[in-house]
């Protein structure tokens, strides 16, 4: 039998549709399986803004009869107990059997569980199943305490082989009537499983998202296809028809970033490019209609866009009356976060952080003093023209665009507007570019700031946000991350590695353990998802001390290279063995050095000598890869040691000395990576 369920609702937010369908598809599939209505049900889901649809085929008419063995009292039980059990099963005592349940002889009864019609099962289960659809924000509409859904449910189609599955949600009874496009279709019309899509089409509803997508793509104008916008428009329309409009080319002297943002984010239009890659004075809007023969819709959209562009021009012009450099003090009136103060305070912290980063770069590996910072401040406050000077200047101005009309109107252009204004107001190009880029990267896919100045500024901004938020306890949990701290942390990792910046990131976290763990999580994510390193390789490296992410990267590369060589994995297995031995012996190292005299001649001494040689070779080695090769080459000596030498020697002195040898070796080579973290076959 075929199942059709359509939940008709008022307009569902476009971005919630995919999640709802995913849930409904699997929930219906599970229901059919659990009730043995279908073995491997083929469930299809579809949606438009006003309907969520689930269809399935090959459903049994009934849940089959089954038998269930019920166990009663022991064979030795008094007759009254046996009679009681029989009565409970609704049979005479002589209809019971005595069987062994695996432990004892007991009275038992093979109860027949009659099957149920699929319609009955579905009618019972569907209301709860539907209401459990997870939406990010639900509402009630029938009154306090009423059911919750994303928007009011206005009709329900529920058919099993075209018989109505009867149930009710929020006063709406299921039936066989669907509803068409709000203006072009009929309000109610009957459907069957077979005619469903066709009837919808007759009423100006295209059920298939793919088909709606194709209709949107099929427009003569070559527009820049933004996939996220396309998805939004597919889920905002039941009968999408794209139209092309144009605007006065005189607006093209506004920055194209502003024009594109107005079109894409505010008006949900696609922008259009000329063949040579410039912005064309045109747009593509997607209507929820069957056409615009009189050009009324095009005309309306053109006027709205013109007003929007005029607004933007008005804001641009009035913003120029006050330079960015004159707006710094105004930042005292813009809140960054209640507990973390204003953007002026944030700017001051960022200024210091930019200097800190500069000094760390100038004096790698050195601890930083107040004096260093003061000196750097004096050195770079007024020039000379250098990346350092530009970065400091950019930091000072970076947040001032938050006080401009244009950013108040188009918040997503923060940074970009600052960069454009800085350029228009004669700031050095390097400063303009740094401000323009400093919110980057906004996603894993986004690129990092183009210049070193931009990278330093972006790091300072993100570090300040993270340090501040963690300090006042605003730590992301689960899906809650209102300050986008995960993105900030991911951005730091990406900038440090892809910008090839050698900076002590743990030191920069000021020893905040929670923050360092949070960053480590993003580091793992980056190396795994973007760079394809194995879990255990990353675990091994991060289990060793780390601070500079480029060094982490080099160690990972070294492991990746040495891993396929025959010595590596067996050696890793040996390290694991060493770790276990040390752990079992609760051995944490000796205060005194190793006593060479206690070493047994043969394998033990050989291992010790090999270790000393390797230690020296590692220190002299030019890179991690060579080090890793040296370490891997220890394998035969380690194997031989474990083959021939008993660590748990009867003499406690010897035993302690042996443990000490293993401990020193482990400690020496675990500074690159903790090899015992490597997952091995053996």
């Amino acid at each position: 039998m075929n199942l059709l369920v359509e939940i008709g609702a008022e307009e569902i937010p476009d971005w919630m549709i995919a999640g709802a369908l995913e849930y409904l598809g699997s929930a219906v599939g599970n229901l059919l399986k659990e009730d043995s209505l279908a073995e491997n049900p083929a469930v299809r889901t579809d949606a438009t803004p006003r309907r969520l649809v689930v269809r399935a085929e090959g459903i049994a008419a009934r849940k089959p009869d089954t038998e269930e063995r019920v166990w009663g009292p022991a064979k030795s039980a008094p007759p009254a107990a046996v009679a009681g059990f029989a009565k409970k099963q609704g049979v005479a005592p002589d209809q019971l059997e005595v069987l062994n349940d695996g432990k004892a002889e007991k009275f038992s009864y093979l109860r027949k569980v009659p099957g149920r019609p699929a319609t009955e099962i579905l009618a019972e289960a569907l209301p709860q199943l539907i209401l459990k659809t997870p939406f990010p924000k639900t509402m009630y509409w029938t009154g306090k305490g009423g059911v919750r859904f994303i928007r009011p449910i206005r009709w329900i189609v529920a058919l099993l082989d075209n018989e109505i599955i009867p149930f009710e949600i929020a006063g709406v009874a299921s039936g066989n009537e669907s509803s068409g496009h709000r203006k072009l279709g009929a309000a109610r019309f009957p459907v069957t499983y077979e005619t469903f899509e066709e009837k919808l089409r007759d009423n100006y509803v295209i059920l298939s998202a793919e088909e709606r997508r194709a209709r949107i793509r099929a427009v003569a104008t070559k527009y820049k296809c933004d996939n996220r916008l396309l998805d939004t428009l597919v889920n905002l329309t039941e009968w999408p028809t794209p139209i092309t409009g144009s605007f006065d080319p005189e607006f093209l002297d506004l920055p194209k970033e502003v024009l594109i943002t107005v079109m894409r984010s505010h008006q949900k239009y696609f922008s259009v490019e000329t063949p040579d890659g410039n912005l064309a004075p045109q747009f593509v809007a997607v209507t929820n209609t069957d056409g615009d023969p009189e050009g009324l819709i095009r005309h309306g959209n053109e006027r709205v866009l013109k007003a929007r562009f005029n607004d933007a021009r008005f804001f641009w012009d009035s913003d120029q009356k006050k330079k960015l450099s004159e707006r710094i003090a105004d930042l005292a009136n813009v809140t960054f976060q209640a507990k973390l103060g204003s953007y002026l305070e944030k700017t001051e912290r960022m200024d210091q952080l930019v200097l800190t980063l500069i000094v760390h770069r100038e004096k790698p590996g050195k601890a930083l003093t107040e004096e260093d910072l003061r000196e750097a401040k004096v050195r770079y406050a007024f020039g000379p023209d250098s990346p350092e000077f530009y970065a400091v200047r950019a930091s000072r101005l970076s947040k001032t665009d938050l006080t401009t009309e244009l950013v108040k109107e188009f918040t997503e252009l923060q940074g970009v507007v600052g960069g454009l204004y800085a350029r228009a107001q004669g700031e050095p190009e390097e400063v303009a570019v740094a401000i323009y880029d400093h919110y980057k990267p906004v996603s894993m896919e986004d690129s990092i700031p183009r210049s070193i100045e931009g990278q330093l500024l972006a790091l300072a901004d993100k570090l300040d946000t993270l340090r501040g938020c963690f300090k006042v306890g605003l730590i992301p949990s689960g899906s809650k991350d209102p300050f986008a701290l995960r993105r900030a942390a991911q951005g730091i990792v990406k900038i440090l590695i892809e910008g090839k910046l050698r900076l002590p990131i743990q030191t920069l976290c000021e020893g905040d353990k929670t923050l360092i763990d949070f960053l480590a999580e993003r580091i793992r994510h980056y190396f795994r998802e973007i760079r394809g390193f194995e879990y255990d390789e990353i675990n091994a490296v991060l289990a060793a001390p780390w601070d500079d992410l480029l060094d982490v990267e080099e160690r990972l590369e070294a492991i990746r290279q040495v891993r396929p060589t025959p010595n590596f994995e067996p050696l890793a297995a040996s390290f694991k063995r060493i770790r276990n031995i040390l752990r079992q012996a609760e051995f944490a190292g000796l205060a005194e050095p190793l006593n060479e005299k206690l070493l047994e001649r043969g394998p033990e001494t050989e291992l010790y000598q090999a270790f000393e040689a390797t230690r020296l070779a590692c220190r002299l080695a030019p890179d991690h890869w060579t080090r890793m090769e040296h370490i891997a080459a220890l394998r035969p000596k380690v194997d031989q040691f474990f083959d021939k030498v008993l660590v748990n020697a009867p003499d406690p002195e010897v035993r302690r000395n042996r443990l000490s040898l293993l401990h020193i070796m482990m400690a020496e080579f675990s500074t690159i990576a903790d090899f015992s973290e490597i997952v091995t076959a053996s």
């Binding site: 009630y140 209609t289 819709i297």
Partner: protein, 301 residues
């Protein structure tokens, strides 16, 4: 472009919408006489949505947003704009169809235009109120805010009302095909500019340049004090049914408008801001709770 003959004037649009909603059981109210930032803040909405009594009303509300003033220079932005506010409590099941009917009543043939309902939820921290809904887009222009109220004054609503708020200037500019609100024909021979330009200019000058900050603070405190005093008296009062809660609420609204003016004047620092919002909210929530209590008494009696 719609044919010129059928284009209604500003006042004609207002009249037709009032007629339309009046025909559908709404009490046609006149604008509330204390300055507000939105029609939602009027007692006809803020207080009436509370409690179990069904209610339907529609009214035009001039809405003041001091920070939005542009000295009459900006063609699309106003210090004081006009909203047509409709409250349907509880929401009828065909509410969207009724709303679409209202657009046709003012001459929009929806078969020839593109109407979309795009998610837009509403929240007012000062009023302790929120709801979910849409912005209604007509040919790319936001013409209406549609909200299913869920909470008001921090209280879960017993009956869920639909709030339909039309931006009258935008809607009219769209219908009349003019690019500036000041070119709207208010009634034949009279432009919006003729009626409203002085308001825009003078209030911008006042709000941005001349409003005396210490005086505004003093006024804020006076109104806050009066609201607080009344709400405390209500709590102790034995004659709750005749208690002037509506007067107390007027003072809350005064506070809200003064806060907005101080904010536009740049007189509220970051650290103060959150605190001042909380002060207004406290009185607004207090008024809502007291009102509900008063209503319950009435229902019981």
């Amino acid at each position: 472009m719609p044919p010129a003959t059928s284009v209604p004037s500003f006042q004609e649009i207002v009249l037709r919408l009032k007629q339309y909603w009046g025909d559908r059981g709404c009490i046609i109210q006149e604008p509330f006489d204390v300055e507000v930032g939105a029609g939602t803040m009027c007692p006809e909405t803020f207080l009436r949505v509370l409690g179990p009594k069904p209610y339907r009303t529609a009214y035009v509300q001039p809405s003041r947003r001091p920070a939005d003033g542009r000295y009459g220079d900006n063609p699309n932005r106003l210090y004081k704009h006009m909203q047509l506010q409709v409250i349907l409590k509880p929401t009828p099941v065909d509410v969207i169809e009724q709303y679409m009917g209202s657009l046709e009543a003012i001459g929009i043939d929806l078969r020839k235009h593109d109407l979309k309902l795009e998610e837009d939820n509403w929240e007012s921290p000062t009023l302790g109120a929120w709801g979910v809904g849409w912005q209604v887009m007509l040919d790319g222009l936001e013409i209406t805010q549609f909200t299913y109220f869920q909470q008001c004054g921090g209280i879960d609503l017993e009956l869920v009302p639909a709030e339909i708020t039309y931006g009258l200037e935008r809607l009219t500019a769209f219908l009349q095909g003019v690019d500036s609100v000041y070119d709207i024909e208010w009634t034949p021979g009279v432009k919006y500019r003729d009626v409203r330009y002085a308001d825009e200019l003078q209030y911008s000058v006042y709000n941005f340049e001349m409003a005396d900050v210490p005086t505004l603070w003093k006024l804020f405190e006076i109104h806050e004090g009066e609201a607080k005093r009344l709400l405390e008296l209500f709590a102790a009062s034995k004659e709750k049914a005749r208690f002037p809660l509506l007067a107390a609420y007027d003072h809350v609204l005064k506070c809200s408008n003064l806060f907005n003016t101080l904010d536009a004047r740049g007189a509220i620092s970051v650290t103060e801001r959150v605190g001042v919002i909380a002060r207004v909210r406290k009185q607004a929530v207090g008024a809502a709770e007291a009102w509900l209590l008063q209503q319950q008494g009435e229902v019981a009696a």
